[in-house]
Symmetry: C2
Subunit: 324 residues, 2 copies
């Protein structure tokens, strides 16, 4: 019988669980609520309970499982498997999550940053095809990123690498919350393109069908913009294209730096699919150097919101099973 790895993706609202088999096929994905009121003990208990349920549902005993990969939001101490803090979940300060889960399940465990886990999931089971080099950009509140080189997640020497959203691309540009100026994410994250649309309507008094969205909801999000764009709204088209331009610029820089096989776009904005890929690809080809044709493939993430839990299992697979 084939052996499995368990993936657990710890989020602020839900904990996700999945199995990964030795042929890199994911299955059994489900989620449980993240218990917010019972501190770290409640969280660990829920993680152990979910993993046991996953094993029970599939008739697995500990001997059938290589290990558990845990994805969690930063900041983390990866070497020691410790969650340093977790926004929205009180009591998760300096929790040795890796060892607690490992002890609870009597299985080896490994902790990974959730953004890196998601990139690794796409690398192993999604767009990346499990070979070569892949860079993933996740377009959400900011622009998260994960870098997989030769099948290894790149963490950096001090655990603060792979922050491609904070590449400076407009040195005289917008101030970023990180203290820098002109960071990539200030120009192409879902949050910032929505903010630009709102600014153009409210401050510059520009006409747009998005005005009615603003009136109804009090705010605009990236999906409203892509919807309005599809309906022919000019302001929405400008804002969407501007975001795509900067995303393409980031992709060109990633080619110059890494020359990866794939750059994968993920997160809420990537659900726009071709409506995102078309303008990004167009700007990418124009901005790209002329010394060679573009060789890196741009693609939309294939696993959606399962990438994190699948990748967490994948990290366990790499650590505990790959040597076989």
């Amino acid at each position: 019988m084939s052996k499995y790895c368990i993936g657990v993706d710890l989020g602020g609202t839900f904990i996700k669980f999945a199995l990964l088999d030795e042929d890199r096929r994911a299955s059994g994905t489900f989620q449980l609520p993240t218990p917010a009121g019972r501190g770290s003990a409640g969280v660990v208990e829920q993680m152990v309970r979910g993993a046991r349920k996953l094993m029970g549902d599939h008739g697995l005993r500990a001997a059938d499982v290589h290990g558990v990969g845990i994805g969690a939001p930063g900041p983390l101490d990866l070497d020691n498997g410790v969650v340093i803090a977790m926004p929205n979940v009180p009591g998760m300060e300096n929790v040795p999550l890796r060892n607690l889960v490992s002890d609870g399940l009597h299985l080896p465990a490994v902790l990974e940053n959730d953004a890196n886990a998601a990139a690794y999931g796409e690398y192993l089971c999604g767009v990346g095809g499990g070979r070569g080099d892949m860079v993933m950009l996740t377009l959400g509140t900011g622009v998260g990123s994960g870098i997989v080189l030769n099948g290894r997640i790149h963490h950096g020497s001090h655990g603060i690498g792979a922050e491609l959203g904070h590449m400076i691309v407009e040195p005289s540009g917008e101030k970023c919350g990180c203290g820098q100026q002109g960071c990539l994410e200030r120009y192409c994250s879902a949050t910032y393109i929505a903010r630009l649309a709102r600014r153009m309507i409210e401050k510059d008094g520009r006409a747009s069908s998005l005005q009615s969205v603003l009136d109804a909801k009090g705010d605009i999000d990236a999906k409203d913009i892509s919807d309005a764009c599809r309906d022919g709204d000019e302001l929405a088209a400008y804002v969407w294209d501007n975001g795509a331009y900067y995303l393409a610029l980031g992709c060109v820089n990633i080619c110059r730096i890494f020359d990866p096989d794939e750059i994968v776009l993920a997160g809420g904005m990537a659900r726009a699919g071709d409506e995102l890929m078309e303008p990004v690809t167009r700007h990418f080809r124009r901005l790209h150097w002329k010394l060679t044709e573009p060789k890196t493939r741009l693609a939309i993430a294939a696993l959606g919101s399962d990438a994190g839990v699948v990748g967490a299992a994948g990290v366990a697979w790499q650590k505990f099973a790959q040597k076989r």
Copy 2:
């Protein structure tokens, strides 16, 4: 007796030779002219002759040598050890240099891009200390770069990665010969800071002590600027500081991307030493995000123009000797 690796650095004017022992100590460096008139056969003959001389001088037989590392300027086909073309050396088109040198010496050989070899030399025997992650920027005609991650040179999936001089940092800025706009090297290579000084004097009619250099030599180079800077020339100070600013910006981006242990500055401009490091470090600290202190060390290259040949030997060491 300890075994050695031989490094051969093929340049347009000289071929350099060096030995590297198993304790990563380089010795015996010397150079021979690159024969320009006898095609690839003449070049290969000179490489074999030099390597034999190196072995003879140190009383080494083939059994005392792990292998030969060859550094050569691009474009190369690394997988097959082929020089595709070599500016200034006629007859070096599609030459299977690795196999020809290997056959001539009856030793295993490996081919590497010279910029990567230089970075690997600094990594193994210079600033890098032979551990962790290191990025090197070589400031010359352009801005060359080499990336060493976990002791491995990063080439990219299509052999066109590690071109950090072509990161776009001013999207509306200067056109670059590569076909992009606002590439880093257009703002901080030795060539471009000299060009900026000249433009300010000749086109904008700005006063500067560099005028007399222009009158005498017909041109200005980066060393003239750092000299004038030291003598208190205002225009030179502006130009030098502007170059340092963009170099610092590049270093901040490298931290966000790689988070390496060291960023090493090399090439002619780096010979200015503290006069370069002081303004670069000042701008770096100011531009760097505030989420953490800067953790990556900035340093001037330690090996100077020997980095390439030492690194070439190092590449052979990694490939043929490291497993011992």
